[in-house]
Symmetry: C2
Subunit: 258 residues, 2 copies
């Protein structure tokens, strides 16, 4: 039987709230099996950019990463946020090691091809080195990933943290029984996006297709849920979406099923 590995992704709502972050890290510390944390960026990069007079650029809600913004993302995600989380986890007795995809060539990406819009230095994941990750875990380290990867040719790339989490979970399914937990600002997938009490406890592919056809899935949820189903179709055992309570309450959030 493969050993269990839990991959937890936390988003900006946790990163930007110091008390919530501390409580999430305390819950993460309590997970007894092998584990990996993936974090997004939060507002630090945007704030730093503003202070430096570098304007955040978006196309239809998606960030465009020019060279100046890439440097800010690397400094704030892989520097500020990542190392602060690592130090906090170490204080909780978790042997965290902070990483980007460039470190140990763990996540190789390709700069997104320019079609109609040039999103700049944004990477689409090509390969996760699950063997190297397994080695790190076997050495007793708990990987903590910032959402930065590289192209293997010397260029760092800003990369979607949800995708990094699902690609890690998929690749690590070679060696582990993997569980993927997406913590975000809602208590789960909602039947009615206005109503926090309308959490769908079990979402399978059929229901997802139906909800999509009825335009009942919030557009911001679509890429996240596509990542969830992709993970399930590629060897990941368990996928859940919900608030940070996913870490402490088995029955919290939405369980995604094939």
């Amino acid at each position: 039987m493969k050993p269990k590995l839990t991959i937890v992704k936390i988003g900006g709502n946790v990163i930007d709230n110091p008390e919530l972050l501390d409580s999430v890290l305390a819950d993460f510390a309590k997970l007894e099996n092998a584990k990996i944390l993936v974090h997004g960026g939060g507002k630090l990069a945007t704030r730093l950019g503003e202070k430096l007079g570098i304007e955040a650029k978006f196309h239809k809600g998606r960030r465009i990463t020019d060279q100046a913004m890439l440097e800010i993302a690397v400094m704030s995600y892989a520097g500020g946020t990542n190392k602060s989380i690592v130090a906090k986890l170490q204080a909780l007795g978790v042997n965290a090691i902070g990483l980007t995809g460039a470190d140990g060539n763990l996540i190789l990406s390709e700069k997104r091809a320019v079609k109609t819009v040039d999103f700049g230095f944004v990477g689409d994941v090509r390969k996760v080195d699950s063997e190297a990750l397994r080695n790190l875990i076997q050495c007793g380290f708990v990987p903590v990933f910032a959402a930065i990867t590289h192209d293997g040719k010397g260029k760092l790339l800003n990369t979607n943290a949800d995708t990094i989490a699902s690609e890690i979970a998929i690749a690590c399914s070679d060696f582990f029984d993997t569980e993927l937990l997406y913590c975000f600002e809602k208590p789960g997938v909602l039947a009615n996006s206005e109503d926090g009490d309308s959490v769908i406890s079990l979402l399978d592919a059929e229901l997802y297709q139906r909800l999509k056809a009825e335009n009942k899935v919030h557009s911001g949820m679509l890429p996240k849920l596509d990542n969830c189903f992709r993970a399930l179709e590629n060897g990941v055992s368990v996928v859940k979406v919900g608030s940070e309570k996913l870490l402490s309450d088995q029955n919290s959030g939405t369980k995604i099923q094939p």
Copy 2:
């Protein structure tokens, strides 16, 4: 026989010069035995601080690290500089992994006690985990350290890069035949600090004491040379000080001897 391990420290003069940095990394890539790179910060932190309106504070030439400056140091050293070096080394075929002392609890420090001056969040190294470093090296990783450590209680600490390099070299002497190379802006220890051609090729403790007594050692060199002799007294086999040519030319620079 213990396997050979080379620890290379590069300073601001290399970090701040992109062409020189590329050439140093190319030479580092050619070293065939196990290796570790330690880098200082360069001007990125100072420039970032200036842009953010945070003034660098010094006491008799030594930096005072307040909370704002610590955050800038972590972002620029552990984020910007470290990850950029890692991506460049990966492109050269070196399986670099970027680290601070907080990662994997590799370098534990203590905040420097306040005597007459409070240097702020500055760490004095207490323990390097040589076994964890050996594990990383045995997994095929090449550690690249930014000069940031932690206190194990959740606080990151700015730490002298020369000291980090010598403490790593000393600790790793348990498992390796260690060589410590300090690359800096001069071609070696100079008999006359005004004359770049006056490199002392061999400096032993006796000569060092004599030069010190005669006030012939530049004051900025004293802590570096103290680190060198401390390393030699604690198990490090070879210590050299010089320009980046140390990496490609066996006869370059100053060899320090007990």
